[in-house]
Amino acid sequence: MGTPVKQNARLIDSLDDALSAIGQIILGKEEQVSLALTCLIARGHLLIEDLPGVGKTTLAHVIAHVMGLDFQRIQFTSDLLPTDVLGLSVFDRENNLFEFHPGPIFSNLILADEINRATPKTQSALLEAMEEHQVTVEGTTRPLPDPFFVIATQNPVHQIGTFPLPESQLDRFLLRIHMGYPGQKAERELLSGADRRDMIEQMQVVFDLKKLKLLQSQAQELHVSDALLDYIQAILQFSRNSNSFEFGLSPRGGLALLNAARAWAFISGHDFVVPEHVKAVLPSVVNHRLLAVRGKESDMTAADIISQTVPIP
């Protein structure tokens, strides 16, 4: 095929190594792992929605380790303040001036655990940082490290005292995935194997920051043909005109779909994007952005409706 493949070949090899390394920890969840990496490569943020204990934190841990990112975990609680996330200035008596103590957000990979338990104020502090890739504290704007990748988790069971993210905020996450329970075989392996945390510690680091940035920019440049853009536009049009959804996809949603499809194609080793790549990321991109109209084919998700209705040009 084209030359880009050869250029990328080494990167792809490393990516495969990373995937299989992560796969040793997160068992039987190849698709979720790939999507998580897709999200990272597409420079987006990831929302994992699932019950506690299905390996959300472990996934964040192992990605941070394998990809060579420094990792911070923020456990969101109802009394968490924005400054607890962003950091604050403390008066330094010795030097007689204010010194900024950066919060946990100044890391490459943030795990924002149970984001829906924090107050909207704290949530929006995080969401703003995600969007801007910088934080402004006490009038000073400070850039966040690059790459900057947030994995937020949300418990889908709406308990008392939680603040589920509104749809408009969900749009800020490039992808949303569900972990789901492990399969029989994976479960057995998990039960009989060693402690995952220890295994991560012993694992080899595959990527470093420089390599990861290269990966991101290479994926960004992946070829997209007019025919594929036609398909994405058809999807956007359908989501806006069809009766199945409360409202259509935003332009940001369209970009999200394109970037995610690109990163997915890149991970799959393609040097161009085909409609199947779009379809592969479709559920993770659109299901949290589109609200299927109630009372209609309730068992079909937005992605199902789209991929079964929109013809491929």
Binding site: M1, G2, H223, S225, A227, L228, D230, S242, N243, S244, D271, F272, V273, V274, P275, E276, K279, K296, E297, I305, S307, Q308, T309, V310, P311, I312, P313
Partner: protein, 657 residues
Amino acid sequence: MSTEGRKLWALLVGILLVSGPFFPRIPLPVTALSLIMTLWIAAIILNKARQPDKLQRIGLLLLAVLIMSLSFGTLLGRDAGTGFLILLAFLKMLEINGKRDMYIVVYVDYFLIASHFFHAQSPWIAVYVFAAVIYLTSVLILFTDKASTLDTRKRLTMAGRMIFQATPLMLILFLLFPRIPGPLWGLPEDAQAAVTGLGNDMSPGSVSSLIQSEEIAFRVRFEGEIPPHADLYWRGPVFSRYDGQTWRADNTSRHIKVNLIGSESETDIIQYTVTLEPHRRNWLFALNYPTNLQGSGYRLTRELQLLNPKKINSVTRYSVTSDRKLSNYSLFESERLKNLRLPGVGYLNEKTIALARRWRTLAGDDDRRVIEEALRYFREQPFVYTLNPPLLGNNAMDDFLFETQRGFCEHYSSAFVYLARAAGIPARIVAGYQGGEKNPVDQYLIVRQSSAHAWAEVWLDDVGWVRVDPTAAVSPDRIESGIQDAIEERDQLPGILLAGDSIFLKARYHWDSFSYRWDEWVVGFNQDRQFELFRKLGFENADWQGMVIGMVILFILVGAFVGFWIFRQGEGIYQDPVKRAYDRFCYKLAKAGIGRNNTEGPSEYFSRLRGKLAPASAQTAGDIIDRYTVLRYGTAGSPAQQKHFIKRVQNFTARLK
């Protein structure tokens, strides 16, 4: 609600929408059976009842046939036909099984909704029919909307848009489809139910019964000023035979063709166009004397009656030139005798004859004197113009002239004619309409049934037939301004005549103006009108062959336009030869039973395809799909690569055959 249930409800609403307006018109048992079946169908949809089994269905069908034959005695004709079709549509709904039956019901509905035009052609009906057609189309959309992505409003909008898009074709058909005058397009006989209007004969009460109807007889548009009210004598049937009770038309000289030559002086000529509502008779109405008539087949009889070869069963339009004076006139001897004849013994009215003879002696040879004497008699005796005259005996003229002296125009005209004949002056009765109301909105004349009138004509040797209206002598108001000012019993007149200058009346005039145009341009768009339109467009010799050719050409043009438009829409797809070749590839495979679903990407398609093809073909197909993927989604290949790909597809599809 299940999709199936939704479809059935939509169908039920559709059939009620279509048959509902028929219910007041069809016999009660038919309506009752329809409504019972409606309830049954609703119960079936709600799972409260089961569909009728075979035996029940046969029973229902027999019941339907029984009801039809008891109510109508036939299954043929307009009313029986639509009634039976309604019952059959409901029966079909009862036994719906699958998609095909649903489509059948919708198509029957389409037919039924069109048959509303057999009954009436008013703008209201047209609006209703349009709405129903849009609804039925939305039901068809529901049937094809497999993913249920459209709600009712969206479906209706879509159907409306489709109907709107079809209007150019509708207009082409409306304007160009050959209107063949003749029985082919005629309504079945039972459609010609009785309507109000002048009859074939006249006896006391036959005109005054019309006075109470505000139905429109015809409308007239004049070229130039509307003549004064007193000149507006619309001639209809002529009655010259009298048996002592009833005046009848004499048909003996009908076949003789007459051409009138008018004085042709500018001031005497009146040109106008009449739009006649159907009255189920042959005659047309015109002012004295119709010298020129545009249109085909019309005839003028010796009695100066305008006749249409067929009964007027639909809105008819004709243009007439009338001349106030004639330059040629004559009277055959047989006609003179006919118009002098008095009824036989028992109905002789001796006192009347004596009175007429007295005038004749007084006047000598001067016929005009006699007429003046007669009119003076009517003027000076205490005659009353009334809607409710007392009954008359066998010697009706004697009773009326000397005793009751209360009557309506038919009394006055017949008494006058009787007197004239008794005095030896040929005379006859002319029935028709007198006057009319001007529509201030659109400057045309509305002639209602309430303007029905009868007057007399006498033969004067030096002038010809001369109109004499004895009613004018009794009640000049009737002729000068109209019935509403002339009559005692105003409360028996239709409200419209008494409404005065209210907003209501203005609205009525606006509405009438609209429905007049509707009659002129839509309902009355017949062959003449069609030819007239084409003459105006510059096609002098339009004939129906030309119209068919024109229709075909316009259809091709519209088709070409739509095709071009679709092509433009699809250009994005088809500018890519690779895509075209791939579509052909998929199309050929579809013929082999493994077509591509249009939402399937190439590799999805291949994974489905692989198992179903022979290994060798699968290999080639895989290669083709791989090449396609690279050429279409990768960096577009060189023209040589594209050609190569197309070639491969051709080879593959050739072998597939």
